[in-house]
Amino acid sequence: MANPILDKVAIVGYEMTDFGDLYEMGIADMSNMAINGALRKAGVDSNEVDALYVGNAGSGQFLGQEHLGCLIASESGIYTNATSIEASGASGTAAMRIVTHGILSGYMERVVVVGVEKMTSLNKSADTQEALATSLDTIWESSMGATLPGNFALMAKAHMREYGTTREQMAQVAVKNHDHARLNPRAQFSNKLRIESVLNSKVLADPINIFEGCAASDGAAAIVMMAPDVAESYDSEPVFLRQSHQTHDYLSLQQRPNLHELRSVRKGAEMGYKKLNITAKDISFAEVHDVYTIAEILAIEALGLVAPGEGGKATEEGKTSLNGEIPVNTSGGLKARGYPIGASGVAQVIEIMDQFKGNAGERQLKDIEWGLAQSLGGAGGTSVVSFFSR
């Protein structure tokens, strides 16, 4: 096992593109901007980079492009080993987590992680949905008529039945995250969203409406990770990744014992709290995977930030708003900052960096000690929960 004194990895430079329809840029262009922006901010020369890890969920589906590690390295002027990691919506944080192994083992010192997705080149939403549904069991779910919102709808129905969660409480997640995104200049959506608009928008799969999910988006986000002793010469006050746990539940919903909780997330969070000897009460703020509104409610419960069944009520009471007890998705979340799938986990880390570094502008939080990032693959089959502190 890794030495506990060294059992942390520094994050030094970071950069992301805007998220949204980036018509002018291909997947390698966006990656190049984020990677070299992060290196410049870190003060690291590209030939000092030991490895490049790419988090990407579906370039094979969205663009017909595989072998992404090599493509992005070639087009970013990084001449070192490069590998692409796929874990659906958790691709970015799964890539980040793998890098900690290389750094903690002493094999690598300076590594770039870029999360990237180019989704808007598919011009029909049915095609986008089909690509998203490849993160489910394509034989026993997708071939029976499943869609990603359909799966989350089953989870929402289970939560409503078990705990009495309401449509209004779920819709409030989207309203709150749009309110946060209005303070984030990089967000895809900066419009005020009214609860009536969410509730009256087109139904995707009852009880999930279109304004409770994410739009197709392009974007890249990159961080430079370093061994703590190496980071000292680049940043006198680095932010550290202290723990990161990847956990799983069954891929298909029918194999899970129940649908009203994200067991994968709970397991990862509990492992992290135990290792760090902290509890959920110590978390100052969190970026969570709100791919649909119910997913944020399920996430904050599984992370222990609120009691099981209280996620909807807590959201309605403003506990997870910017000025609430435990601010959740200050960036605007997947919903409003945008969800270029492979980029989103790294973008969560960037929001955490912005908050710790005092770069969060109007959404800046005060007196923060622990930041948490949680991302999901598919409908919760994969979870990565990561803990950050100064």
């Binding site: 049915a126 919102p149 029918q254």
Partner: protein, 138 residues
């Protein structure tokens, strides 16, 4: 453009027994059922005690949703119900729920039976793929 398992004819042939007749397997050692069929028992890690098993076409309805934005290739019949069914043997499957005349009468835990229907088509001139769907028993 997007390759998906269900568009590959060979994949569909391979799954025919499972889809047409709910064939899975039963492990005589740990007394566990498997659906779809496993090459090795997931608990005993061997094929030694496995025998083919045809599941009963009866079970109970767990969660359901009405999908208004259909998956590509499933838009031939308008919005459809999609659900999880627990078979009598305790195994759960995902499928569509047909012949829902009154959604208000659907209940968690209610009885359903499985029927044989078209699942999807491979384009306008392609093959049809058939399999099971659930029907509520009021």
């Amino acid at each position: 453009m997007i390759i998906m398992t269900r568009k590959l004819v060979a994949e569909n042939w391979r799954l025919e027994k499972a889809r047409y007749a709910l064939v899975g397997n039963f492990c005589k050692k740990c007394l566990g059922y498997h659906f779809p069929k496993k090459q090795l028992c997931l608990r005993c890690k061997t094929s030694e005690h496995l025998e083919e098993y045809k599941f009963k076409h009866e079970g109970k309805l767990l969660e359901w949703t009405k999908i208004y934005d259909p998956a590509k290739g499933f838009d031939f019949a308008g919005p459809y119900y999609y659900c999880i069914v627990e078979l009598e043997e305790g195994i759960k499957i995902t499928t569509q729920l047909k012949y829902v005349t009154d959604e208000g009468r659907l209940k968690y835990g209610m009885k359903v039976k499985l029927v044989f229907r078209r699942l999807f088509s491979h384009g306008n001139e392609g093959l049809n793929t058939y399999g099971f769907k659930a029907v509520p028993v009021y």
